[in-house]
Amino acid sequence: MTVYKLMLEGSSEILGAMSIDFIGPESRVHIDLLATSRSNIGLNKKYSGIAGCLIAYACRQAMVRYAEPCVSLIPKTTLKSNYMNEFGMLEAGKCVCLFEDGMIELILKHEV
């Protein structure tokens, strides 16, 4: 398991954090857990796109490591369609996932 945190340059404030697993035999990066700081969730958030940046970074890591990469996560059942709409993820079993085209889109969108 590898943990990444997103911070503003020149600040010690953590905006978000993510823990991922590299599943080598499947060329897959699995997002185990992702959290955005309380002040950046909901209507009155200070910054938007924190989770998007972190997921895009997971995509970057997958592309660096694997020739045919995939990024996945297991959503709460009630949130599955929301992840699909928000990040362009596709449904595969209980997971939602991104393949190369979706990963590229997210990486370019968030300029990771």
Binding site: E26, R28, P75, N82, A92, G93
Partner: protein
């Protein structure tokens, strides 16, 4: 700190999906099922992939490689400006002649730059960035050149020898 229950109560599904991924427990057999479903979907997606997507993907990987190299202090002989330029042309699947025409340059001039017989003209880094539609930014090309120049300068004994002769008096600093 908010509990999971409070978080689920306080925010809409859209807000939650845009900000969080909850940890999920899965049995071995469920993991296996998911892996199979992902593999099946991946095969379909790969067969739909276009040549343009493949080029973009290769270019992004190339960009990440450059980023990692530039963040590393070590100089890498395989990532000189000419080597990177050569790789860029290969990745976009063009012949040197075709690429030279794309960037309004004589093929001979391009070939001399690639073979390190000529320095790139002023602004060439910007021309390359425009050609890649910003995928490889101009500053990356500039930094690649800087890193190479720094290495060559600092590791050239002739330069040190010549410049030592030019310093007629140097500071004496006692530690």
């Amino acid at each position: 700190m908010m509990t999971k229950k409070e978080v689920l109560k306080d925010f809409s599904n859209d807000e939650l999906a845009a900000s969080l991924v909850f940890k999920a427990k899965q049995s071995k057999s469920a993991k296996k099922k998911d892996a199979q479903a992902i593999l099946k979907l991946k095969k379909t997606k790969m067969s739909d992939s276009t040549e343009m997507n493949e080029i973009l993907s290769a270019l992004l990987r190339f960009r990440f490689k450059i980023e990692d190299y530039l963040n590393n202090v070590e100089f890498d002989q395989s990532l000189t400006f000419s080597a990177c330029l050569k790789e860029y042309i290969q990745l976009i699947q063009k012949k040197q002649k075709e690429f030279a025409s794309d960037i309004n340059m004589q093929q001979t001039e391009l070939s001399q730059i690639i073979n390190k017989h000529r320095k790139p003209p002023h602004g060439f880094e910007v021309r390359l960035a425009i050609h890649s539609n910003g995928t490889i930014p101009a500053k990356y090309w500039c930094k690649i050149i800087d890193k190479e120049n720094e290495f060559e300068l600092l590791n050239d004994p002739k330069v040190w020898d010549t410049e030592s002769k030019n310093v007629l008096r140097k500071l004496t600093i006692n530690e």
